[in-house]
């Protein structure tokens, strides 16, 4: 293996990791608003909630396309195994995203908002749940023979993947509440502050459950965390997670606006890092590594050149648009 063949897949794995992280952060609070819809019955308050994400949702969802297409570009043989293996949750997620996506516009234009509010809530929740199931389905492993998916079409449906699904719904709801507390005023902000604490507890319970479940059922993950010397390097991850969770609670109690949102993002990132540590270097656990599934160096280099130039530009104008729509959304402000 030449050094290009060695390092290019690593660089690409890191880049896709960043895209997925960006997606989880940005669309996380965005889907979270939908998860929270049923807890705020007033359509006027829902208008205000939706208004905080309306200018951004489309851009946020583009990171999901980048994640999927990035996998197709850099690791086509992983994309070709993962998608058929997780066929049903992927399609359910896509259809759910269709409904919650059009709900933004349809809800404004339709005479009665209730119907599309329901579609928005259900679509967002189902999309979040499916994404958790996809994650769980991947982590628990995919049957592969001759580099092709060789399992059954319901292999993904396990208690663990459903646990991950519910965990992600709770996680996005936490991001949603802290986002709302930061971006709104009045009753919506107050309610978000109250709800944030419950969602935080739920998230911690689910994080603990997933963190215990994976090493207990997957010996390779147990070996990764608890063998020496790994343990010496890895013990800060759960420790920092506990500290961040404590700080997040404290800041919510104190009514701080920005820190709880940042802390809930940090919780997500720590969980994400934990999963990466558990599964590296597998892209399709437990058999295909990032090198097994990598595209040819010619493809990876061609795309890398464009990415190094375009991705900073993307991040630049995304920040610009967030800056244009800075500030809080006041009570009674509607969608547009």
């Amino acid at each position: 293996m030449g050094s290009m063949e060695m390092y290019l897949p690593l660089i690409w794995a890191a880049l896709i990791g960043v895209a997925v992280a960006m997606y989880i952060i940005l669309d996380g609070f965005d889907l979270g608003i939908g998860v929270l819809f049923p807890f705020n019955k007033s359509e006027t308050e829902r208008d205000q909630m939706m208004r905080t994400i309306a200018p951004f949702w489309d851009g946020n969802e583009t990171w999901l396309i980048l994640g999927g297409v990035g996998l197709f570009v850099a690791f086509p043989r992983a994309y070709a195994v993962i998608m058929p293996a997780l066929y049903i949750p992927v399609i359910v997620m896509l259809v759910a995203l269709v409904f919650r996506g059009v709900a933004f516009e349809f809800r404004t234009v339709s005479r009665s908002k209730t119907g599309w509010s329901f579609a928005f809530a259900l679509g967002s929740t189902l999309a979040a749940f499916s994404q958790g199931v996809i994650l769980g389905g991947l982590v628990q492993g995919i049957a592969v023979t001759n580099r092709e998916f060789s399992g059954g079409h319901l292999d993904w449906a396990t208690p663990f993947s459903f646990l991950c699904g519910i965990a992600l719904v709770a996680g996005y709801a936490l991001l949603g509440t802290t986002w709302l507390h930061m971006k709104t005023e009045g009753a919506v902000a107050a309610r978000a502050q109250r709800q944030a604490k419950y969602w935080l507890i739920a998230v911690l319970v689910f994080m603990a459950a997933v963190s215990l479940y994976t090493p207990l059922t997957e010996p390779r993950i147990a070996a990764r965390w608890f063998s020496l010397p790994n343990f010496y390097f890895l013990w800060p991850v759960p420790t920092i997670t506990a500290l961040v969770a404590f700080a997040c609670w404290h800041w919510i109690e104190r009514g701080r606006e920005v820190p709880p949102f940042l802390a809930s993002i940090a919780l997500f990132m720590l969980g994400y890092i934990g999963l990466v540590i558990s599964n590296y270097p597998y892209l399709v656990p437990p058999s295909l590594t990032i090198w097994d599934t990598s595209a040819s160096p010619g493809s990876q280099v061609f795309m890398l050149i464009g990415t190094l130039f375009l991705l900073p530009m993307v991040i630049g104008y995304v920040i610009f648009v967030y800056w244009i729509f800075r500030g809080k959304v006041r009570e009674g402000e509607s969608y547009h």
Binding site: A54, P55, F56, D58, G59, E61, T62, I65, L66, G68, V69, G70, L71, F72, V73, P76, R77, Y79, A80, V81, I82, M83, P84, Y87, I88, V90, I91, L94, V95, V98, F99, G101, V102, F104, F106, T108, V109, S110, R147, E148, F149, H153, A295, S296, G298, S299, F302, M303, G306, L310, V314, Y317, V318, V321, I324, F325, E333, S334, Y335, H336
Partner: protein, 466 residues
């Protein structure tokens, strides 16, 4: 249905989702360019009607764009879910083309769309207009990359086959593969033409109903002005594209022409019923030597016939044949309507000729159907190949049971059926409401802090700050 044919179902599912999707880009590519034009005219002339028109069309754009985005996300994952062997085989080559589409186009569109829909009162007019232009540029770049990928599947070039997968050798040859320039020009022009006919249709509708007269006339003039150039241009581009296809995919052309026996000059069949078993046409109404003249510019010119290849290498002739005729008929209708409209404009009776207004008001859909028919021609005409001469469609599907594909196909049909019906209904209602011209006092000028970024909402609750 447990043993339902997975290849057929995967094809049906992709055909359904992609046909649904293409409706919206065909419109939003053109509509964003139209919005940018209106914005430019507004900033340049300072005239009210351009700003009103722009904000009226932004509302319709928003609904249409949302449907385009969500149906597009589906496609980017469907390559993997339903066509995993195709993805594994072609990922190294067309993956990066889609990657560039996301990074260079999707982010641009999606991010600046936020300003276009919600930023009217937050940014100065020039930046608002610039955002429209950036969205228009984004939609165009998106078409560039996705058509490069599609064209590579039609006329692959610049690759090698190593270890059973296609790998890149020359990126310029991959992107600018032989059919790409023609397909790109044909599709982009189609999108602008489709939009021109929608704008024309809405303008005519307003004039017939006797409301929004100033805006209606502007739309009619701009629509005719655009269509009278684009519609004939499309005939020329299409002809060139056809010659390119004859060179690289002659059997597709034979199917488009319903031409079986390559040893005889080709007639142009105005109507026929291709009989794929008997390898001949029934009920032909033809112009003798017509296709030979068009395709070879010679009376006795020969083009390959369908019978020159075994049946398992022929596309589904009937589908290709009829889709091609639908596209042609609509194309000629658009040319005739545009030329006649221009003639009426020159005579000074465009706004009073009610029978003409009635026809164009009811012809807003022609571009969409022509686009779909054109895609059916080129995609069905590529069969039985998924990647021309490299991979058969049947070899590209995922190892997923037919029943699962059938189930998700049903799910897509129900979901898209609901979304599409509501989308059309809402867009029609927005058009009925028309531009918000006066009547709400103070809604005319660009006053930050007062006007809504969205005129629908503004119309519903005047004076509300965004």
């Amino acid at each position: 249905m447990m043993d339902a044919d997975p290849v057929l179902l995967a094809r049906l599912q992709f055909a359904f989702t992609v046909v649904f999707h293409i409706i919206f880009p065909s419109f939003t590519i053109g509509l964003s360019a139209w919005l940018a034009t209106l914005g430019g005219l507004w900033v340049y002339t300072g005239e009210e009607r351009y700003q009103l028109l722009m904000r009226f069309w932004v509302k319709i754009f928003a609904v249409s764009f949302a449907m385009g985005v969500v149906s597009g996300i589906v496609l980017s994952y469907q390559f993997g879910t339903n066509w995993s062997r195709f993805s594994a085989f072609t990922g190294d080559v067309i993956g990066p083309l889609l990657g560039y589409e996301v990074l260079a186009a999707f982010f641009l569109e999606a991010t600046f769309l936020g300003i276009l829909l919600f930023g009217f009162s937050r940014v100065p007019p020039w930046l608002y207009t610039l955002s429209a232009a950036v969205v228009a540029f984004g939609t165009m770049s998106s078409a560039f990359w996705i058509l490069a990928a599609n064209s590579w599947m039609q006329t692959p070039a610049g690759h090698a086959i190593e270890n059973g997968v296609a790998v890149p050798v020359d990126w310029l040859q991959i992107i600018f593969n032989p059919s790409f320039p023609y397909r790109f020009a044909h599709m982009l022009n189609a999108a602008y033409l489709t939009t021109a006919f929608v704008v024309l249709g809405v303008g005519a509708r307003f004039l017939l109903e006797g409301r929004h007269l100033s805006e209606g006339r502007t739309m009619l003039r701009m629509g005719i002005g655009l269509a009278v150039i684009l519609a004939p241009l499309q005939l020329f581009i299409g002809d060139q594209h056809g010659l390119n296809t004859l060179k690289h995919q002659p059997i597709k052309v034979a199917a488009m022409e319903g031409h079986w026996d390559g040893s005889k000059p080709a007639d142009f069949h105005i109507f026929a019923w291709p009989d794929e078993k008997a390898e001949k046409n029934r009920f032909e109404i033809s112009i003798p030597h017509g296709s030979s003249l068009i395709l070879t510019h010679s009376w006795d010119g020969l083009i390959p016939g369908l019978s020159s290849v075994p049946p398992d290498q022929r596309p589904p002739v009937t589908v290709v044949f009829f889709a091609f005729r639908i596209m042609l008929a609509l194309g000629f209708f658009m040319i005739a309507a545009a030329l006649y409209g221009a003639f009426l404009w020159w005579r000074g009776t465009l706004f009073e000729t009610r029978w003409f207004l009635r026809i164009v008001a009811n012809a807003w859909w022609t571009g969409f159907v022509a686009v779909i028919a054109g895609w059916v021609v080129t995609e069905s005409g590529r069969q039985p190949w998924l990647v021309y001469n490299l991979m058969r469609t049947a070899d590209g599907i995922s190892p997923v049971p037919g029943a699962t594909v059938l189930g998700t196909l049903a799910l897509f049909i129900v979901a898209y059926g609901i979304v599409f019906s509501f989308g059309i209904y809402y867009m029609n209602r927005l058009i009925k409401q028309g531009p918000d011209d006066g009547g709400h006092g103070g809604h005319g000028g660009h006053e930050p802090g007062f006007l809504s970024g969205n005129p629908v909402a503004a119309a519903q609750s005047p004076g509300r700050e965004i």
